[in-house]
Amino acid sequence: METFIGKSIKRREDDRFLKGAGRYTDDIKLKGMTHSAFVRSPYAHANIISIDVSEAQNMEGVVAVFTGNDACGAFGVPCGWQVDFKNGETMREPLHPLLAKDVIRHVGEAVAIVIAETQELARDAAELVKVKYKGLPAVTDPKKAMEAGAPKVHDQWPDNAAFDWCIGNDRAAVEAALANAHHVTEMEYKNHRVAPNAIEPRSYIASYDVNVDKYTLYTSTQNPHLIRLLLCAFALGIPEHKVRIVSYDVGGGFGSKIYHYTEEALLTWASKEIGRPIKWTSDRSEAFLTDAHGRDHVVHSKMGFDKEGKIVAHLTDEYCALGAYLSTFAPAVPTYLHGTLFQGVYTTPLIHLNVVAPFTHTVAVDAYRGAGRPEATYLLERMLSKAAKEMNMDPAELRFKNFIPPFDGVTQPGFQTQVALQYDSGNYEGVLKRGLEMLGYEDFRKEQAEARKNGKLLGVGISTYIEGCGIAPSAVVGALGARAGLYEVGHVRVQPTGKVSVFTGAHSHGQGHETVFAQFVADKLGIAMDDVDIVHGDTDQVAFGMGTYGSRSLSVGGSAIIKSIDKILEKGAKIAAHKLEAAEEDLVYAEGKWTVKGTDKSISFGDVSLTAYVPHDYPEGLEPGLDFSSFYDPSNFTYPFGTHIAVVEVCADTGKVTLQRFVACDDVGNVMNPMIVDGQIHGGVVQGVGQALLEEVVYDDEGQMITGSYMDYAMPRADDIPMIETDRTVTPCPHNPLGVKGAGEAGAIGSTPAVVNAVVDALAHLGVTDIQMPVTPQRVWKAMQN
């Protein structure tokens, strides 16, 4: 019988995308649908003196104009995570209004919505809304935001901090160990702000049906149920059972489509006010100004080593921008998704991280592919490579010296870190060994030395990362400030004919769930993949769910489905036993049928399914039907890890960096579909390379974004990138049924420091020890001049 797990099965979703038949939100047209446009602030910080909507309102074709002075002005979108001050003070949490009423806190903040018969008219009318502002000074850099006298983002607090938090060992102990260390490596830099740039801009259609008193919101989201919860319980106070959220096909997310955005709530509210559906689709320019960004940490770090090169202590202070308001997961990103990875793959005995997270006059910063973990990895991996150079050691050798030894998490216990988490299983030296082998590290070093003699600047950079995925055990995240549980729901409905519909709370926006989930469901049930359908993205179809982010879909969402399959097989066995007139314990289930051990007596899955729905001859007391829903709450995070190695050439004349090779050896646990895992790694790597070489959101001193379009924000293109050389080791996750760890973010986590390490390595003989990211030609050239 054909099995599917572990095979590169082609994706069943591809045909519709390839034929232009995807169902993205902006593709949907509803009867009577209106269109909307926003009036957005050109100031980063200003008082609103007056808003005059009369001309816009009177324009032909305009249906309505709303401002913060209307009833919607009282509503705001919530934050889903609370991180308090280390001194016990509660996190400072401002209202994030749907429309700004009195004060503007970032460029692009919405002041009014104009709803009209067509998109063109809505935009024309939006130009007629007259807003008078009084401009005020702004602050966009997180460290400057904490300086005395910095412009305040929210007047009610004495400074701009939302919280001041720490994790790890006692600071004094870490400082003492650093003071006694044989060698201390120090770095100061900015892990700069980047924009996620899913190619599909955010898009929403809200509709209210007065006849059934029900709202429907079509939205380009990564987590429809979470949006419903936040929208109903926190933003608008409307009944959850009267709201349906639909997100069929979503054109990429990378974190930016997790959050509940003001536009979603505002459109939903307004659709009832006007009694008609309303569509809004973001422009790219609006996306730069309003989608949550990633990173933006100002870092000062010290790492101490003994004379053998073993890390003895690590102390870091960071200022991490949150933006003007707290986005859904924002407080978790620079804290629990970041500080908890400061152990890395090393045995560091003493670690302390302090994070001051201020408000800034910018759009929010929230989870962007990797979320806190790329920032942690960048820090550790740059530090290790810098330290190796300073101590005159090979960067690979220094890593081998410091690795946590291999452990499988089954016969050997998990590894308890100094920063709250316990790693599940790992073999960190294994991926580095394989990575070096893939590259041909020793040969490369020879080639590099030769090249240098000819004035050619070649460099190699290593990064060995770990990440925490499969977010997450609800009790753990609850203790860490999450305001939601982070389990997942898997509902398996066996139809009377034995065909299977699976309803998952995970959401695919490129990950290929329709294929991968069907692969393991088919295998577990011993049926054909064609007999399995995967349904997601509709809260009226899927009972509940938490969505897709943090590389959680398979490890958490997949496990929930497995739980339901187990229940189906358990109940099916009762029916089979009855039909076969055998004891349940005498049955085995394989290849889609129950067989009485040692006989050829069997009954197929299809026959049992039919019996469950036509229960004429049926076990006494057993309910009809074969339909189970399960919640899976993991017992731990999962911890994928890997080695990424970059080879670059730097142009001596211009400073331009060319990425020549990129080697990735990742361990994401068991693999369901290698083709899809490789694809996830490729994409993640290029996003990480993008941050290292090209991408940067820049705000000027007035808070204006000077990189607000693709004319100024450099996206990685096909000709910026070589083929990505991938391989894997497999260390199964010991605590979930599929043994999977998650692959969505790994690429973006490991790659960035590998590239920067390579650039610094290429220039090391010129005395270059660090270059601020992104390592643009200008920055590299300037570093070479000093």
Binding site: E127, D653, T654, Y713, Q778
Partner: protein, 267 residues
Amino acid sequence: MIPAKFDYIKASSVQEAIGLLDEHGFDAKIVSGGHSLIPAMKLRLSRPEVLIDISGISGMNTITEEGNEIVIGASCTHADIVKSDLVNAKLNMLAQTAKCIGDIQVRNRGTIGGSLAHADPSADYPATVLACDATIVVEGKEGSRSIAATDFFLGIFTTALAEDELITAIRFPKVTTGNYQKFFQSASRFAVVGVAVVKEGDAVKVGVTGVSDTPYRATAVENAYAAEGSKAAEHATDGVEVMSDHFADEEYRTHLAKVFVKKALEA
């Protein structure tokens, strides 16, 4: 993004287009490929009330050889130029320049006339037009005139075109001893620095774009070349006010100008 409202007229002759320009004055804009104008209109930075489409005018998208010149119709797309056997044989640096513009799709649509009239300080053609001593042929109410490349570019987005004039063709002397070298801005892929060099015996002509708000002939380089050879590149920005932006500040851009002038001189 949607432009503000406008009227659209497809002109069938140069005369008709000029008449319309004259009639509507500042309110009118000429469009051919539209790849400079339409993005600006979508951002509502440009709001013409009348758009005069000249792409259908016959005779304006031809590439011909006239004596010692190659004549490029203003409506020729960058792709027309890249693919032209005539250009590749007798004016290959222009094909080289056109290949550096945008991407396949942009080259299939954007035109040389449109690019020159737009006069983006980071556009590619100006360097080559200057180095070749090309002539911009324009037509207006008062008739036709030829503007020397060195007189054409007046400033950022500013040219010697009068309000009622449009470019009909660009006349290039045949050049097979020239080349164009470019350092791409990593986001837009416009030129941070673009340098065109034409060699004529011991003399060189050097056109530079991207460096200053107006493309220029690097006369200091040209004058020093006979004595200094490619080291004359050190004079690349002599007497020029060098632009500064996020991708290249004055110091770095000045350095790049020298590097790329040298590269073009040595190519």
